[in-house]
Every structure is written in structure tokens, then in C-alpha cells.
């Protein structure tokens, strides 16, 4: 049967198993909206700003492992989506973004609402396409999903001119596509894996460092199995939290700029580093010359370009984490050798000394609400079982430090791009994917205002998100850097003229609560959680001057951490 391009597009989404499309209409996509309107299989979520659509699709993807789908119009629709596309690109999130385009015959003529979407998005997508002929439409959509979800995941943009959505063609959705230039490597090289296992077994002071790749590979359980078999300490990047249970005794928590003292010290002193699905980001590595000075390094990553990019490694393994780790487990089981238990015991003694420093300690007797206390209480009240999205700033770091994630896909934040405005729309995607789950959005009074309009979307779709606004009246992360590195000149980091968040929430049809005393923190959170079908905006008025510790200043090594001033190490 012949269908219009718009109908074909919607059928493709259905055949791809797409549940939700996050989008915003406009001239170039009206045929597509018309086709969406006439069916019930693919549900459309109308956001209030295209940035919101991209973050919502992103949150959906991060919490389910499935690709997020976005539909926006040409011109301003596409440009508004860029921030979200770049956010997904930096964190390797599978997304398919369909952008409307002007008619093929008008392309290049500075037509109304024309931008070169393929050109503008090129540096921040895994790949992109312009569909010039309706005959290519279905195959292109198939390719887009295939590229977005395989290998190192990432966003793929498909730019569809209006006339292509209007023309008619036979529809058939390809079962499979092959792209002759694209063959992600799944299985690791057996010789390299063997070498890695030898090195791992020879370690006296081993350390496992894992990242977002474990989550995308769905390799949490195999990683956990291997780590327990070996009895080695493990640390996760900001993107990898939850891949190994944070409450397990082998977990040293997060590493890097705001990681724990024990994780960073163990990195600095280890003799074998086993890096798995992590990309040696500069917030993790610090100064390259000081990075793991004594370690031989194994690195497992599906993207060859991640390997030896900033830090030269000794045993590179290109492959999918789950495949490689399972193979490592097999070899370890076959091997007669065991880890060096005596050396390991000594290593753990050392690590436990570092742990005893209790680097995340904060003042529990303050008369002001400490942000850390709010997050600790959130953890207790939700029994560690919530999905937590976050914006960007101090609150993000505290959430990462104080909410102990035991499961993957629960911690949803923008790490690579650090996009303020991410938290609330991302929570919408998470909540839609998990309607019965508790979804908390940890944010700050500056970040939340970047996509505050999405409160309206939450109202329209009845999304009972719990917004935890850690309101310090400052762009706290900026203020912290100004305090440390600019002699306390707080240029433009004070948040003037804040709205009354309670009233604001109420005007959108939600519940707002303002919390000003430590004693009210827990009752407010419990109360909010009871309101199962309402969005509750909790405005916590927190200590303005609190800083995130520990901290490694830029350009320093892992052994040069700052703890909070009262407890600065010599």
C-alpha cells in the first residue's frame, strides 16, 4: 500500500517499537503531526521548549537503555534542540532526532525557517542524514536507530524536508540494515583479554575504575560478579554510578575532582588499573603526568578512539564490556592462580585507613539546612530506590556523593556537557518510562530556571516528579570557584530576584513546599512522597556558603585532594 512520507515515518517509529516521541510542532512537520494524530501506537509528548524534548528523550533513554526519540520543526525548532543533542552526544546516549526541513526545492535559498540542520548538528551527533527522496525514508530511519543504539551509542539526526513527508511511496520497513563502513567490535581480542587477566592476577595493589560504558553494555551483573571474585576495590565515574552497588564494601564511591579520598588515593597508589567503559575524562584524570604513576593499565572500551586518548594504556581491549568481562570471568575461573591474598589484605588495610578519614563528613549540628543532609535524607526516605535526575552544579555533586546507587540506570545527569536545565525534562522522560517509580529531580535555583517551563508539561501528563530544589541563592558551583580561585569576587553568581517557587509551582497546578529548618527536611520529604500522583516542588533554603568537598583543583593529581577546611590534610 502507498503511504505518505509522514505516514511512513510514523509507521517506522511504530515498527521500531517506539513508545514515546517528545516534540513540538511547526510548519515543516505538520504532515508528520497529522499522521501522528491519526494513530494511537506512538504517543506524542508535547513539551514547552525543544530543549526539553531532547532532555526528556535522553532521560527516557538513560533510564531504559532504549533510544529516545525527538521530533522538532525546521529552523528554530532544530536550533533549540541543539543543546540537548550535544548533551546526549557527550554522554553517548542513543537518540533519534527527527528535524523538519523546508521543501527540497527550497533548500539553500534562505527559505522561511531554514537552517542547515545537518551542518549545524554535525559536530555533536554520531551521524546525521538528510532524506531527499521518499524512497530512502524508511531505510534511513532504520539506519538511524541502528547507528544510535549499537557500538558506542549516540544521537543521530534525520532531517526530513516537508515535501518528502507529503509524497507517496510503498512502505516496507527493512528487517535489518548493513552499513558497509560501520562494524562495531563486540568481542574483545582473546590474546589481549588473556594478557589483561595475567596482569590483573599479578597485581599487589589493584584498582577497578568503571564508567558509563558498563551501564550501556548492560554489564552491571557481570562486572559485579568479577569484582567480587577478585575481591578488588572498585570506583565508578559520575556516569558509572550504580553499575556496581555503592553500598557494597568493595565500592570506594566516585573518583575524580569531587570523588572520595579513598577512591582517589587508591587510584594514585595502585599498581594495576583495570579501566572498564570509562573514558579518562579530565575531571577524572586531573593532571595527566600525575595520573596513576605506578600503574600498568588495562582499558576495555568499545570505541578505539577512547583508548590512549589522554592516558597511554598498556593493555587495550576494544570490545563490549559485557562480552569482555564475561570472558575474563571464564578465564579467571579456569586459572589455577588466585589473586595475591596477602598483598590484597595489606592494600585493603591501607584503603581502610583512607576511608577512615571520612571525607564526606559535614556539620550535622548546623542550624541551617545542609544540602548534604537533604540528599542523605532523600536517600533514606526513598530507601535508595528512586530514580534521581539532576541539574548541574554543587547539588549534582552532592547527589552523586550522598545518594548511594545500588542499581544501574537510576542516576541520570549530564556529565560531559554539564547542561544546566537538564534535570526536570530528563525526569519527565524517566517518569513516563517508569510510571510507578519514584523520580526525584535534584536541582538548584539557577538550573531549574533554565527549563522551568516544563512544569507545564508535567501538569499536562500528570507526571508526579519530586523536585528537590537546593536553594542556596547562588550559582553555588560558580561561587565556590570564585571563592577558591578569584579571591571571593562573586561576579554575577548571586541569584537576584528569585521567584517564589512555591507559588510558581502552584500556578502550574502543582504542590509547592518551602523548607527552612533542618528539622522540617524529613517530614517534608515524607509528605511529598505520600502525594503519589502529584508533582511536588520542594524549595529547600540551604546554607549559602557550603562548598563541595573533597576537591582536586584543576591541574592537580589524585593525591592532592582538599578536604573541608577544618580537616585539611597536611
Amino acid at each position: 500500500m502507498e503511504l505518505t512520507g509522514a505516514e511512513i515515518l510514523v509507521r517506522c517509529l511504530k515498527d521500531e517499537g517506539v513508545e514515546y516521541v517528545f516534540g513540538y510542532p511547526g510548519g515543516a512537520v505538520l504532515f508528520i503531526y497529522d499522521a501522528l494524530y491519526q494513530q494511537d501506537d506512538v504517543k506524542h509528548i508535547l513539551v514547552r521548549h525543544e530543549q526539553g524534548a531532547t532532555h526528556a528523550a535522553d532521560g527516557y533513554a538513560r533510564s531504559t537503555g532504549k533510544p529516545g526519540v525527538v521530533l522538532v520543526t525546521s529552523g528554530p525548532g532544530a536550533t533549540n534542540a541543539i543543546t540537548g543533542i550535544a548533551t546526549a552526544y557527550m554522554d553517548s546516549i542513543p537518540m533519534v532526532i527527527i528535524t523538519g526541513q523546508v521543501h527540497t526545492w527550497a533548500i539553500g535559498s534562505d527559505a522561511f525557517q531554514e537552517v542547515d540542520s545537518v551542518g549545524i548538528t554535525r559536530p555533536c551527533v554520531k551521524h546525521n542524514f538528510l532524506v531527499k527522496d521518499i524512497k530512502d525514508l524508511a531505510t534511513t530511519i532504520k539506519k538511524a536507530f541502528y547507528l544510535a543504539t549499537t557500538g558506542r551509542p549516540g544521537p543521530v539526526v534525520v532531517d526530513v524536508p516537508k515535501d518528502v513527508t507529503m509524497h507517496r511511496a510503498e512502505y516496507s520497513y527493512p528487517e535489518e540494515v548493513a552499513i558497509r563502513s560501520y562494524h562495531p567490535v563486540m568481542k574483545g581480542h582473546p590474546g589481549q583479554i588473556k594478557k589483561a587477566v595475567d596482569l590483573m592476577l599479578s597485581a599487589k595493589r589493584p584498582m577497578i575504575y568503571t564508567g558509563g560504558g558498563v551501564i550501556w553494555s548492560g554489564a552491571s551483573s557481570s562486572l559485579t560478579e568479577m569484582t567480587r571474585m577478585l575481591g578488588y576495590p572498585i570506583t565508578n565515574t559520575l556516569m558509572g554510578l550504580g553499575a556496581y552497588p555503592a553500598t557494597d564494601k568493595q565500592s570506594l564511591g566516585m573518583l575524580g575532582m569531587h570523588g572520595t579520598y579513598e577512591a582517589n588515593m587508591a587510584m594514585h597508589h595502585c599498581d594495576v588499573l583495570i579501566a572498564i567503559g570509562a573514558r579518562f575524562d579530565d575531571r577524572v584524570v586531573g593532571k595527566v603526568e600525575y595520573f596513576c604513576p605506578e600503574a600498568e593499565i588495562v582499558h576495555v572500551d568499545i570505541d578505539p578512539s577512547s583508548i590512549s586518548k589522554s592516558v597511554k594504556v598498556d593493555v587495550p581491549i576494544v570490545g563490549d564490556v559485557d562480552h569482555v568481562v564475561k570472558e575474563m570471568i571464564r578465564l579467571l575461573k579456569e586459572d589455577k592462580r588466585t589473586p595475591d591474598h596477602a598483598a590484597l589484605a595489606q592494600w585493603w588495610d591501607q584503603i581502610n585507613e583512607w576511608r577512615a578519614v571520612n571525607c564526606l563528613k559535614y556539620d550535622r549540628n548546623s542550624s541551617l539546612i545542609k544540602p548534604q543532609f537533604v540528599l542523605e535524607t532523600l536517600y533514606n526516605v526513598t530507601q535508595g530506590d528512586a530514580f534521581v535526575t539532576s541539574d548541574v552544579g554543587q547539588h549534582q555533586m552532592w547527589a552523586a556523593q550522598f545518594y548511594k546507587f545500588d542499581k544501574p540506570n537510576r542516576w541520570i545527569n549530564s556529565g560531559g556537557l554539564g547542561t544546566m536545565g537538564f534535570g526536570l525534562p530528563a525526569a519527565m522522560g524517566v517518569q513516563l518510562a517508569h510510571p510507578d517509580a519514584t523520580v526525584a529531580c535534584v536541582t538548584g535555583e539557577a538550573s531549574i530556571q533554565m527549563c522551568i517551563q516544563e512544569l507545564s508539561t508535567c501538569r499536562q501528563y500528570g507526571l508526579p516528579i519530586k523536585v528537590i530544589n537546593l536553594n542556596n541563592r547562588y550559582m553555588g558551583m560558580v561561587r565556590q570557584w570564585q571563592e577558591f580561585f578569584y579571591e571571593g569576587r562573586y561576579a554575577m553568581s548571586y541569584m537576584e530576584a528569585l521567584p517564589d517557587f512555591v507559588k510558581l509551582a502552584e500556578s502550574y497546578g502543582h504542590v509547592g513546599i518551602k523548607i527552612e529548618k533542618p528539622a522540617d527536611v524529613e517530614p517534608a520529604l515524607r509528605e511529598a512522597m505520600k502525594l503519589k500522583d502529584r508533582l511536588v516542588f520542594m524549595d529547600f533554603i540551604t546554607d549559602q556558603t557550603e562548598n563541595v568537598y573533597p576537591m582536586i583543583a584543576q591541574g592537580k593529581g589524585h593525591h592532592e585532594m582538599h578536604l573541608s577546611p577544618e580537616r585539611e590534610l597536611a
Binding site: 551542518g119 554535525r122 559536530p123 538528510l130 552499513i179 558497509r180 563502513s181 570505541d303 578512539s305
Partner: protein, 163 residues
Amino acid sequence: MRHIISILIENESGALSRVAGLFSARGYNIESLTVAPTEDPSLSRMTLVTRGSDEIVEQITKQLNKLVDVVKLIDLTEGPHIEREMMLIKLRTAGDAREELKRLVDIFRGHIIDVTTGTYTVELTGTGDKLDAFIQAVGSAAILETVRSGVSGIARGEKSLHL
């Protein structure tokens, strides 16, 4: 170190800008870049000359390979290879210089492919060094215009870059 990277790439409109964009976005340097379709019209062959430390060139090849449009890639400088560049150069040929220039063209095994009373247009093929040497030899006063193709290269022997 100077590297000559040869690429088979999908012959599609955006492909060239993906490569060029990669180099500018990541701050890699491009000394020259040539591209034209191959005997298989769906593929273009691109030759890229770049400079960088081993680490940078390793990243460059990895990043290029990562582009979905890149089908195959080799670094020609890793093995024996032949490189050629073509130059068209228009020379001023006033008075006595005319004979002298003709001799120089012969020495460099170039061809004069167009002539007017006051000019020669010369076609010259060789390595970049040879073209540079010719430019040196004729001297800048004589040069009206030069156009160079950029380097193309191919591996020596049986080795070949094809699908």
C-alpha cells in the same frame, strides 16, 4: 612527523565536510587534502597530509575511522609508498629568460602546455619537494600564478586500498 592518510569514503554530499569539520573541531592540522571519485562511483578516494606526534596521528586515524562515511583508511607513511603532486604554474617569460625557463622545465621533466608571447604555462608532476625545488629554481619574480593539486599517494607493491 608528516603522514599521508588515504581514505575510501562514501561519495556523498556531506562526506567531505565531515572530514574537514573533524580536523577543525579537534584542532588537527591539514597540509593538503585531495578528493575525487574512484572507479566505483559510490566511493571517493581522499588523500590527506597531516603532521603530528604519534599520539595525535593515532587519534586522527581513529577519529577518521569512526566517521560513519569512512569505509577504509590507511596511513601510507607506515610502509613504502609513492606520492605525487601535480602543479600548474604560469611563468613570465620576458627576453632571455624564455630559453632558460624552457631548459629548466626540461630538467624537471615538466611540460609546457600553453604559450603566449610573454608567458609559459607549465605542468609538473612529482613529490612536493620536487615542485618546491622547481619554484625555487625559477624564482618568484618569474611566477605569475601557481596551482597545486595537493598530494595523492598509493602504496608500493601488491598492497592496495580497496573494498
